[in-house]
Symmetry: C2
């Protein structure tokens, strides 16, 4: 027995969150139980409200409380650029740096022969359709710099070959603050190839 009935169930659910194991789920549950009004009830409400209100955007497959999402309908965003990301987490990462003011397209994964993910499992058809819109000038491929991510980027670039858009990809190189000694050969080779006059 870890705790009484209802608390046990709560701990088991918390332990399913990424980053929480059985021990940290117990600590989290205890933390919540000690802050019933300031944390536990607001969290229960936030989960309830978000579960009820969140939808997937039918245009870009982002999640939001409205469909189409607030990025797709924002009049201040640049409608000539579409940034292609694997997952919603990647979209959030792009939004945090605030360096991109265009629209997004969430693929929902990458092509993967091992996991049996083919083009029909990703939202590629919708992207090609969006790229045909006369407003769209550039598609920025921001899939992860993994083998699967780069394979997917390559496949999408091919699919977009028939449209008028420019297809670009994120630059590879030494991460800011990175030390050469800790970097893999692939990154150093890419950084060397893409070297620029200073």
């Amino acid at each position: 027995m870890v705790g009484p009935g209802g608390i046990d169930a709560l701990i088991q659910l918390l332990a399913k969150l990424p980053g929480l194991g059985p021990r940290s789920a117990r600590r989290a549950a205890l933390h919540l139980l000690k802050r019933r009004e300031s944390l536990m009830e607001p969290l229960a409400r936030a989960l309830r409200d978000t579960a009820d209100s969140v939808k997937t955007c039918s245009v870009c497959h982002n999640i939001d409380t409205v469909d189409p999402c607030s990025i797709c309908t924002d009049p201040k965003r640049d409608r000539s650029q579409i940034c292609v990301v694997e997952d919603i987490g990647d979209l959030w990462a792009m939004e945090r740096v605030a360096g991109f003011r265009g629209l997004y397209h969430v693929l929902g994964g990458t092509l993967s022969a091992l996991d049996g993910v083919g083009p029909e499992d990703l939202h590629v058809g919708g992207l090609v359709e969006r790229a045909r819109h006369p407003d769209v000038k550039e598609v920025v491929l921001a899939t992860n710099a993994t083998v699967d991510g780069q394979t997917t980027a390559h496949y999408i670039a091919e699919r977009l070959a028939g449209t008028d858009v420019t297809v670009s990809g994120l630059a590879h190189g030494v991460p800011v603050g990175g030390e050469l000694d800790y970097l893999d050969e692939g990154t150093i080779t890419a950084a060397l190839k893409a070297r620029k006059p200073v």
Copy 2:
């Protein structure tokens, strides 16, 4: 902007859980949003139900859905022993090993000059009262082996001096599986002092 309105609020609440920072809270939120029916809604319900039903036991200050708690009212538990712990997490830890079949008393912290915690802030009075009951033969002090924990144990032992109960404490020594090379001097000294014939 990290995510749309309601999701941002959810991430901020998740980030208040111990073990989750801003980054892992985002991952947890995304994980929940992708498993709306299998995880997000059950978690919202479990939080709601637990927040509504959990009470503090008026006898031992454990938390449970009933008051007095299920340990205090369990007829199979040995009513002659009371184990004194700092916190409910410590009570759970004791219950996991299932080596103790007596009752508990949760202090709600330790004496701490630095944090300004005095005897009146802990549930010591109730413990002394419980120890006077003729059924109670032994009080096991299981406060943590920290300076504050041991100071508190010492103080409680003094307060219980006027009663008829035997006061005992957990043994100190080398943890099972522990290596001498990695242990502090205090632990080795304690283990050496308490050495036993093999």
